[in-house]
């Protein structure tokens, strides 16, 4: 029944191959449909069991049927066989099915090469440092498998194979570097990633309803990182503006379409301002966070400063973006806002929240100026028992009334929303600003990490003669939020991940983030712009992609040329190598007082060394015998050289614990 070919299965190697395939497929299970993951696992398991029980591989017709079923399954699932999702699914299935017809080394090689290709597909989903390290490890395993399968009689020990493949990978580093630096980058992503890559990102949206920001506060994913050119501004000044909302429908606040700022801004104290660079994580929106108030001249090309002082760019931020800006805390626009904007900032729904309106009237009539009114409102938040919490109760139709007078428990959006409403009801133009506040300073990397959890909402009121003034009602309720960050402002027990009490863990988190940041900046962020500036700084001038391709070919060509010269050179240094290794052996013995006289033959020396160190006699004997055979014998074998160097490098004459007084 069983053809001799079917029994071809060097089992330990096959098991290694199955395990490595499982490792390379594993990260994909996060986005593959369940049936596909289960099927793949089943095939891997079946193949293992078949090899174990010496069961013949399935017949051709069964394989064909399986392959057709697999392709049909993929088509049913995705309606196509092209594109990222369907492609990966198909590749995964076919690669595992190929296992069922492995008859010789050639088939194995095919699978291993498919496996190498599979490594690449992970980068279509995830380009983090972690996945890169993981895939490097798997690539190492695959290379070791290639080595192992190319020598069926397993002349090499496993350790030596792992070592050799690590060496091979290391040897490929120069080519990798040349390709990395010189491969022409195109502007925009290299491949057209489907839009769903970044859709899962959380972030601010263009509307704000109660509970939306408190939900964001549960996410510790990074929004952006900021490097300051000078000193880190105090926490109370680190307001990063993203959106301004001035339309209230009774429940949620919405932003309007933005218009570019037309009137010039005035800097009151003419200071140098704060210069900083932001690395923004992709969020699929056109907004660029900036500190208040940004100098339009410092903004990157392609972005614009809007009339509400927010900054947007034309395209959506689909890739990590790095930009610099300068902000002046004292920059004002006393006259720039047009009447339209101001009247909008007073708009309220016709009905609803009667108690708040009454309160506004009462406070307004009791205060002489607008500023007085603002302070009275803030004083109410401060003096009355309001609670800052991530878990506010649900609010009904008259949400402002309910919050201000009944529940009195809320997150920043509740305070900003009710304060703005109060202002408008009292006749003071006011609006909501959303963005991020303070962030966490990473001393290790000297930058600020701003997470989604740092999302914040505050108010701006229009004061005649002063223009828009930032008022943060949350500061009146929970000053800690502004001064020490969100983790310290919340009651104990809320938002657990934010409270990382152990400084040790904090340090670890910072180190990891620093690493990750460098990876993002220097590896993933190496785009066309950086490539051009990198080579310009090296003195190459501005390189076109044709120049880059030429240098690329030259670089790779010279590496291979050098390798060719090195490998094709007559191998006279085997002898020198043996000599050097033997010298090391003599040195190790010399360290324990058994020095070899230059005129002493190796066998005599071995004899002397053995009588002085009987504990090492077998090792000394073996090494000396190999040396004599290699240096003086006829018909030496290359493996002896390896064996010899292996033994000598492991040879230690020093006793692990000497009994010395």
């Amino acid at each position: 029944m069983q053809s001799p070919k079917a029994t071809w299965s060097p089992r330990p190697l096959l098991n290694g191959l199955l395990a490595t395939l499982a490792l390379v497929i594993a990260p994909h299970t996060a986005h593959l449909p369940l049936w596909l993951s289960v099927l793949t696992t089943a095939i891997l398991g079946a193949r293992y069991w078949m090899a174990r029980q010496h069961i013949a591989l399935p017949r051709k017709w069964l394989l064909y049927a399986l392959a057709i079923a697999a392709v049909s399954g993929v088509i049913l699932q995705y309606k196509t066989v092209f594109g990222r999702e369907a492609g990966v699914a198909l590749l995964t299935l076919m690669m595992t099915l190929k296992l069922l017809e492995v008859k010789n080394e050639r088939d194995v090689w095919l699978i291993v090469f498919l496996g190498y290709f599979m490594l690449l597909t992970h980068f279509l989903y995830n380009q983090s440092l972690f996945i890169a390290a993981y895939l490097l490890l798997v690539a190492w395993l695959f290379t070791t498998l290639l080595i192992a399968f190319s020598q069926p009689r397993a002349q090499m020990a496993w350790r030596a194979q792992f070592k050799l493949s690590a060496k091979l990978l290391l040897q490929s580093v120069p080519v990798m570097l040349v390709l990395f630096f010189l491969f022409p980058r195109i502007s925009g992503p290299l491949w057209n990633l489907p839009s769903d890559v970044t859709s899962a990102q959380t972030g601010l949206s263009d509307s704000m309803a109660p509970g939306m920001i408190s939900q964001l506060a549960q996410s510790d994913s990074v929004a952006f990182r900021v490097e300051f050119a000078g000193k880190l501004p105090p926490s109370t000044q680190r307001y990063f503006r993203v959106l301004v909302m001035d339309h209230f429908d009774g429940y949620a606040w919405r932003a309007r379409r933005t218009r570019p700022l037309t009137s010039p801004l005035q800097d009151q104290d003419q200071g140098p301002g704060t210069r900083y660079t932001i690395t923004l994580e992709p969020h699929n929106k056109p907004w660029l966070p900036v500190m208040d108030f940004v100098d339009p001249a410092s903004l990157p090309i392609g972005s614009q400063l809007n009339s509400d002082f927010s900054v947007t760019q034309r395209e959506l931020v689909e890739r990590r973006k790095r930009y610099s800006a300068t902000s002046h805390a004292s920059l004002v626009n006393p006259i720039g806002t047009n009447a339209n904007d101001l009247s909008r900032a007073l708009d309220l729904p016709a009905t609803g929240n009667p108690r708040t309106r009454a309160l506004a009237q009462q406070l307004r009539s009791a205060s002489r100026t607008e500023l007085d009114f603002v302070n009275q409102a803030l004083a109410r938040f401060h003096n009355e028992p309001y609670v800052y919490t991530l878990r506010p109760p649900r609010l009904g139709a008259n949400s402002i009334d309910e919050f201000l007078f009944d529940t009195r428990r809320g997150f920043c959006e509740h305070y900003a929303s009710s304060f703005t409403y109060l202002m408008r009801a009292g006749g003071v133009p006011a609006r909501i600003v959303t963005g991020y506040l303070s962030g966490e300073y990473n001393q290790l990397g000297n930058y600020l990490i701003v997470r989604q959890a740092d999302a914040h909402a505050w108010s701006e009121v229009w004061l005649t003669g002063r223009g828009w003034v930032r008022i943060d009602p949350t500061a009146a309720v929970a000053p800690n939020r502004i001064e020490q960050g969100i983790a310290n402002a919340l009651p104990a027990g809320e938002a657990l991940f934010l409270n990382n009490p152990s400084p040790w863990l904090r340090q670890l988190k910072f180190s990891w983030d620093t690493f990750n940041n460098s990876w993002n900046q220097w590896v993933l962020g190496y785009d066309q712009e950086r490539q051009v500036s990198f080579f310009a700084r090296l003195g190459f001038g501005i390189l076109s992609w044709e120049d880059l391709s030429l240098y690329l070919l030259m670089g790779v060509g010279s590496i291979f040329g050098l390798l060719a010269i090195l490998t094709l050179r007559p191998r006279s240094n085997d002898r020198d190598n043996v000599e050097r290794t033997y010298a090391l052996f003599c040195k190790r013995l010399g360290q324990v007082g058994i020095a070899r006289d230059p005129a002493e033959g190796p066998l005599d020396f071995a004899l002397r060394a053995k009588t002085m160190r009987p504990d090492l006699a077998p090792t000394i004997e073996a090494i000396s015998r190999l040396y004599v055979a290699l240096r003086y014998g006829a018909n030496t074998k290359p493996e002896w050289v390896q064996d010899f160097s292996y033994r000598v490098t492991r040879f230690r004459a020093r006793k692990p614990h000497t009994h010395q007084p």
Binding site: R575, P598, A599, G601, P602, L603, V628, Y632, A634
Partner: protein, 310 residues
């Protein structure tokens, strides 16, 4: 190391062991003597009378199953006494050659430096050519042909010291020296050596010996080893210690002896230790130290210690 020795080489080991039981405490010299025989060379033993030279020669012949003849050299020895003479045979009505004692496989030429140069040269010619010419006719000597010549230290009265050119004909020169205390005690109290000799049975035959001799030149010489030999030769020529360095023939002798030594020790290739083991015996009589007080052997021994193995 002994595991893969062929039977012949194993016999060699037994030979050495047996010989060492007769000549006590002189194993190195016994090995050198056998090495010399394997390398198809001739041996010169230089020592005072009564050190066991004759016993050694006899022993070798006995163990190796060779035919043995001893010739005592005296100042009145004539070449014909060695080579043989033609005597008129009346029955055959012609001269019949009566071969001299030299027609033998192992010859002990005792006290070679007592004979006149003429007699010496007759022997030396035979050693070199493995044939003798007497009365116009060339005759082959038996194979193997192995001469062990003994020589009293030349400062003794009534000797004709061998000139350098003649000494060069001997592959090895050894000195037996006084036995060690323990060995001598055994010698003094033990059985008569001659009786023991007579009881020995040969371990090898002519064919076996010839096969072993043929193997010597097949012992591997690596580049590294030749480097070492050349370093040694260069040292003898450059050193201020010697007035005469080692000749190319001396170098060849060194390699040949080392090969035979390696074979005797069951190795298929020569190692530096082999060279060192035979160096004094090969070079001692070929080198002439500048200082009159130093013997060639001592100087050669010192040289080995000063030349690094490359």
């Amino acid at each position: 190391m002994n595991a893969h020795l062929d039977p012949l080489a194993e016999k060699l080991q037994q030979t050495v062991q047996q010989a060492a039981q007769i000549i006590l405490g002189k194993e190195h010299q016994i090995r050198l003597a056998i090495t010399c025989l394997l390398a198809r060379g001739h041996l010169l033993i230089e020592d005072l009378p009564g050190m066991g030279k004759t016993t050694l020669a006899h022993l070798l012949a006995q163990i190796l199953g060779l035919q043995f003849h001893r010739i005592q050299f005296t100042s009145d020895l004539l070449p014909a006494d060695l080579l043989g003479v033609s005597v008129y045979d009346r029955e055959r009505n012609g001269f019949v050659f009566h071969p001299g004692p030299i027609f033998s496989q192992v010859i002990l030429a005792d006290e070679i430096n007592r004979a006149t140069p003429k007699a010496q040269s007759a022997l030396l010619e035979a050693m070199e050519e493995h044939q003798v010419t007497a009365e116009g006719e060339t005759r082959k000597l038996p194979e193997p042909f192995f001469v062990i010549a003994t020589q009293n230290p030349s400062h003794q009265v009534g000797t004709f010291p061998l000139p350098e050119s003649q000494l060069d004909r001997f592959l090895l020169r050894i000195e037996l020296g006084y036995p060690e205390r323990q060995a001598e005690r055994a010698l003094l109290t033990g059985q008569d050596r001659r009786d023991m000799l007579a009881q020995l049975s040969p371990l090898l035959d002519t064919a076996g010996l010839a096969a072993l001799q043929a193997e010597v030149s097949g012992i591997h010489l690596s580049d590294a080893l030749v480097d070492y030999v050349q370093a040694l030769i260069a040292a003898t020529r450059q050193s201020a210690r010697f007035s005469l360095g080692l000749s190319p023939r001396g170098g060849i002798s060194l390699i040949r002896s080392a090969q035979a030594w390696a074979l005797l020790h069951g190795r298929r290739s020569v190692v530096p230790e082999d060279i060192q083991a035979v160096f004094v015996a090969v070079a001692g009589h070929r080198l002439r130290p500048v200082s009159g007080n130093e013997s060639g052997s001592a100087a050669a021994q010192a040289l080995i210690g000063s030349v690094a193995i490359p």
